[in-house]
């Protein structure tokens, strides 16, 4: 009886796996890979953009997330994934173009490209506008908690202020973290000079004992819960945090900061380029772009959204800073592999300089193990002699 039940159960499981493949109607599918929380998802009464696209076109969308540009690159480079649409950042797009990993776009399939503002065209990483369509852009700045930080910070130097020891956060992505030191030192963030990188690393080592943690997405919980005073992060994410904690404020440090742009691209090897272009075009439909801009809370390069009076972030000065409030900006460019490997090594040194506390236990255990091994060997020898 039990055996029959078990066999039946196994068959059901098998059927569950096999069924979708066997019965699904032949349908077009595209694989889309985007940052997390980077599309209007239907949460809290917003529009579910992916479902809307499927409804309007009948094309099935396999929607997945990536969490770092580098992670996306390694998936593409190793051939572990076949994506039809990806939305990486500027310097990765530059690298993908250089390594011939992107398709050129057929703009006759993307008529909505006309909505892209002039200032977001012909960007440095794709000067011919052949491979990418801008999705969002933004700047890095300092987020601080007004109840813990006064006076309001003006400079990146606030991240080195011992007054906030243990209450500072820093990027966990090496390139962004190095950036904060490089703005302060007045360096070019794309420098290939070893001395520059060493100087920036030295600066970050000085900071390490003050840092509470090197974080990425964890920052939401930490800042919203009032667990840290100061953190460098992206402006759109700040707006999301501010919705949950009114004590937070944001400033562009005077030394300058990073401008970034995330654009939609089609990687080489796509099996459905036309549907992919259709998806890109769909994201540029004025109503869809508006829903996304409201949900993602990053600046949009879409002219119809920018001029739409219903767009609640239209006059937001953090997203769309006036020229006089925004300091000099720098863009990340792709660096040679040798520099990147060196940067990773420096980064490891920085993390190690946090000081992990003495590991006295390891010495005790190792000594005990050594003694035990010796005793056992001696015993064994003695036994054998007998």
């Amino acid at each position: 009886m039990k055996k029959t039940a078990a066999i039946l159960f196994c068959l059901c499981l098998l059927a569950a796996f096999a069924a979708p493949a066997a019965f699904a109607a032949p349908q077009q599918t595209i694989n889309v890979c985007n940052w997390g929380e980077y599309i209007s998802s239907g949460a809290e009464g917003s529009l579910n953009v992916v479902a809307e696209f499927e409804k309007r076109t009948g094309i099935h969308v396999n929607y997945t997330n990536f969490d770092t540009n580098e992670g996306l690159y390694s998936k593409l480079a190793s051939g572990a994934a076949d994506y039809d649409v990806i939305i990486p950042s500027d310097y990765l797009i530059q690298r993908l173009i250089a390594e011939d990993m992107l398709e050129t776009l057929d703009f006759s399939n993307i008529p909505n490209y006309k909505y892209i503002t002039d200032e977001s065209k012909k960007l440095y990483f794709d000067p011919e506008d052949a491979y990418s369509v801008p999705y969002t852009y933004g700047y890095v700045g300092l987020i601080y908690n007004k109840t813990m930080v006064s006076p309001p910070p003006e400079s990146w130097a606030a991240l080195w202020d011992p007054q906030y020891a243990g209450k500072l956060l820093q990027f966990s992505s090496p390139r962004d973290a190095f950036g904060t030191a490089q703005y302060l030192l007045g360096q070019n963030i794309n420098t290939t000079s070893q001395a520059d990188w060493n100087a920036a690393a030295q600066k970050l080592k000085e900071q390490a004992p003050l840092v509470q943690g090197y974080v990425a997405d964890e920052i939401y919980g930490i800042m919203e819960g009032g667990n840290a005073a100061l953190a460098p992060y992206y402006n759109g994410d700040y707006l999301m945090m501010h919705d949950n904690n009114e004590d937070l404020a944001f400033v562009y440090p005077k030394e300058g900061t990073n401008y970034f742009c995330d654009s939609m691209c089609i990687p080489k090897g796509t099996r459905n380029k036309q549907a992919a272009e259709q998806f890109i075009n769909f994201l540029l439909e004025p109503d869809i772009a508006l829903a996304n801009a409201e949900y993602i809370m990053y600046a949009t390069p879409h002219s119809a959204v920018r001029s739409n009076p219903d767009y609640s972030l239209r006059d937001n000065e953090i997203l769309y800073p006036k020229a006089e409030t925004l300091p000099k900006t720098q863009i990340f460019e792709n660096l040679p592999p040798k520099v990147l490997t060196q940067m990773n090594t420096l980064w490891t040194e920085i993390l190690q300089s946090r000081g992990g506390g003495g590991h006295w236990l390891i010495w005790i255990v190792l000594a005990a193990a050594a003694v035990a091994v010796v005793v056992m060997l001696v015993r064994k020898l003695r036994d054998n002699r007998r």
């Binding site: 770092t68 390694s74 480079a77 943690g213 840290a228 490997t341 590991h359 390891i362 193990a369 035990a372």
Partner: protein, 283 residues
């Protein structure tokens, strides 16, 4: 005499391990000794040698964290396993249940949840602040619990403790009660029974448990990243080579290979302890 099993019964496992264990291992070795273009090269090992101070410290730290976690697990698990093995059937089942339940949840979620327990305004510090308010009028300064080495070790202990308890419990629950009785009849007190009968006979379980806690602890990167607030253990470093900006998988593979060698040496040392016992790996 038992009938000899057909060698074909091995086939599924042999195929599985060839595909999913041996082939990836071979790939790691190939990557470690080639450069990005696929030519034979020792560049990765040379790079490690050039930066040996950095890598020595990384390996040392990782071993230290893993050892701490293993020792703490052992200290917690051994008495519990002993208690369980000697408890009534119902208590045993209940305890087993309590040990297994956390394993039903994804370990990523379990680890992340520790953040909200340990953070400055988290559950633990809120409770401490309340207690502090009962006895003192001074403002409470929450101790930093999260993003510290202690939190990383805690995460390891939390996640891997069941792998220490289960093998020790399995061995202990199979001990012949007559052995303990015999020892008692011969005049041994409870302490001597434990020392001379129970402990030596449960060594295989301990060795198995130590291996199952130590090996994943030494190579973890998720726990150290989420609870250590940016740490530089060897697992993090290997991950950085594959998912970081340099995308230097030769270096990552070389580091993995060295880590494997170290773990192998550790296990050989462990084997010394269980020599002469029936089998080292029970579960």
């Amino acid at each position: 005499m038992r009938k000899k099993n057909s060698p074909w019964l091995n086939a599924p496992y042999v195929l599985w391990s060839a595909l999913f264990i041996l082939a990836p291992l071979a790939l790691v070795a190939v990557f470690a000794f080639t450069d990005q273009a696929g030519r034979f090269s020792l560049a990765s090992f040379e790079y490690i040698a050039q930066n040996q101070q950095l890598y020595l410290k990384t390996f040392g730290d990782s071993l230290a964290y893993a050892l701490e976690a293993t020792v703490i697990c052992l200290l917690l698990a051994f008495p519990l396993a002993y208690f369980m093995a000697n408890a009534r059937q119902r208590t045993q089942r209940l305890l087993m249940m309590l040990i297994m339940v956390p394993m039903w949840m994804n370990f990523v979620i379990c680890t992340y949840s520790w953040r909200s327990i340990l953070e400055d305004h988290g559950i633990l510090n809120t409770a401490l602040a309340w207690l502090h308010g009962l006895v003192s009028k001074e403002a409470f300064r929450p101790p930093a619990l999260l993003d510290t080495p202690g939190a990383v070790v805690l995460g390891m202990v939390y996640n891997y403790l069941p792998f220490m308890i289960l093998p020790i419990y399995t061995v202990m629950s199979k001990l012949e009660p007559s052995l303990t009785e015999a020892a008692q009849d011969l005049g041994a007190n409870r302490w001597r029974v434990l020392e001379q009968v129970v402990v030596p006979l449960s060594i295989p379980g301990v060795v198995s448990g130590v291996t199952m806690v130590f090996v994943p602890s030494v190579s973890t990167f998720y726990i150290s990243q989420k609870l250590g607030g940016g740490s530089s253990l060897i697992g993090d470093l290997i991950e950085l080579q594959f998912l970081g900006s340099a995308y230097n998988f030769s270096l990552g593979a070389a580091l993995s290979l060295i880590l494997m060698a170290i773990v192998l040496v550790c296990m050989l040392v462990m084997k010394q302890f269980s020599d002469g016992e029936e089998s080292a790996f029970v579960v």
